[in-house]
Symmetry: C2
Subunit: 264 residues, 2 copies
């Protein structure tokens, strides 16, 4: 039987320990091609490079595996992976991560890890973003591996439900035996209340540095945040179509209104 082709990417860069952990699992399930940014690209969201060139280098950092680094964003990596590296080889699955840090709840919007997976899903490829709730470079990526393998294998064997090509998976910072299991859930409503550190640089010019506090505005028991707090791995089926279908009818008042004259 032909092994599935798995495209592996991330946003923490080609040398990140989380990427290595994900490659370890992926190569047990299929043929693996890796393409990742050549430098950390956290919080890049769905940014792409359109006004400048992108570099692509073949690298030998995963023994026996075809791997590339690219100078662009996580989404650039996936686009280069699909259209330049793989060309006519269509991946059966794209996995992104393991991200160093949470991409649960509203973090999905800022995340380069999820955006990379989403880019493949826009192309119709089943995709999974994996993140571990530990920001440190030396985070323990071993504990979640059996669950990651289970999720990848299930998606490879069964596909994904109608209207969904993307899973956002977050793994609690726990030992393997402490992880309670997997919960399929919805994205919790939340936002980041920012506090900008204000300081001055060595030349006396002021600058701001973003920092913030996660504010949960969701009491639901069926959210990713609740699942993670309870010791479960959260799986949120996700999409790139942002339409609020229920708001279309009430907004039709806009279609009836008369254009308002502009004061010249």
């Amino acid at each position: 039987m032909k092994k599935p082709l798995i495209l592996v990417t991330n946003d923490d860069g080609i040398a990140a320990p989380g990427l290595r952990a994900l490659v370890d699992v992926a190569k047990q399930l299929g043929d693996v091609v890796v393409i990742a940014p050549d430098s950390p690209q956290s919080a890049m969201g769905h940014a792409i490079t359109i006004s400048g060139p992108i570099r692509l280098n073949k690298v030998n950092v995963f023994e026996g595996l075809e791997a590339y680094e690219c100078s662009g964003t996580p989404v650039d990596s996936v686009k280069l992976g699909k259209y330049v590296v793989l060309k006519n080889r269509r991946p059966d699955l794209c996995v992104s991560g393991i991200n160093h840090g949470s991409n649960a709840s509203i973090n999905i919007i800022y995340s380069g890890t999820v955006s990379a997976a989403m880019e493949a899903s826009i192309e119709g490829i089943n995709s999974i973003a994996f993140s571990l709730l530990d920001f440190s470079w030396e985070a323990d990526f071993e504990s979640g591996k059996v669950f990651i393998k289970q999720i990848m294998q299930t998606v490879l064997e069964n596909g994904l439900p109608e209207g969904c090509k993307l899973l956002n998976v977050n793994i609690p910072k726990l030992k393997e035996h402490e992880i309670k299991g997997i919960k399929v859930c919805r994205q919790a409503e939340a936002f980041w209340a920012e506090e900008f550190m204000e300081a001055t640089d060595p030349r006396g010019v002021p600058y701001y540095w973003m920092t913030g506090e996660f504010v949960l505005r969701d009491e639901g028991e069926d959210t990713d945040i609740k699942a993670l707090e309870a010791g479960y791995i959260s799986v949120v089926p996700s999409k790139h179509n942002l339409t609020v279908n229920t708001a279309i009818e009430p907004l039709k008042i806009l279609e009836q209104a008369t254009p308002i004259l502009i004061d010249k």
Copy 2:
């Protein structure tokens, strides 16, 4: 009566003609504060700057209006606008644009213009992204102004429907009298089939430059693409919650599965 406070931003930068056109309309409806990137930031998606400093300068480019430029992304601009510039002044509306170029259909995902408006909507502020289907710097932003004013005024007076804090508005490249009106619609399914231009730089090192072709995969009559093709302004109620609710139940098979052992 107290005038509404309107935060105006964009992704093409503080000097873009599209921003000036949007400011022209906004100041007829309320008190305006402008904060925008100090350089063009197209296709930055929801990127934020977390690993470095951001600069903020007060500028005098809109006569009589409080305005700032920031060295970060469009989303950084809105965050700085809310937490540093406005602080305790809560905007009644955030508008972003007018973008030079379409943000209809899947472009919403890559757009810095929409992401800036979305950032305000995540904070619970009613927000509207405006884009004109003309990439050129000298695009005609006059034709759409009466419709932009109408949409902004309607949202200021009536708010937005439950579950929606963000409108993605696209304006066809037509004269005012040629615009047929406004259609409230859904985001069309599409993707960009990329073709990377491959070339070598002056030192002989190869590079890639992204270019692509928009591929519509949606036959629906109720989409933004169809509305624009028919000469209407498209309004898509949009959100930041990406969950595919209908996929949660079928995916519960993941919760029952047994973890798969990892080959060490």
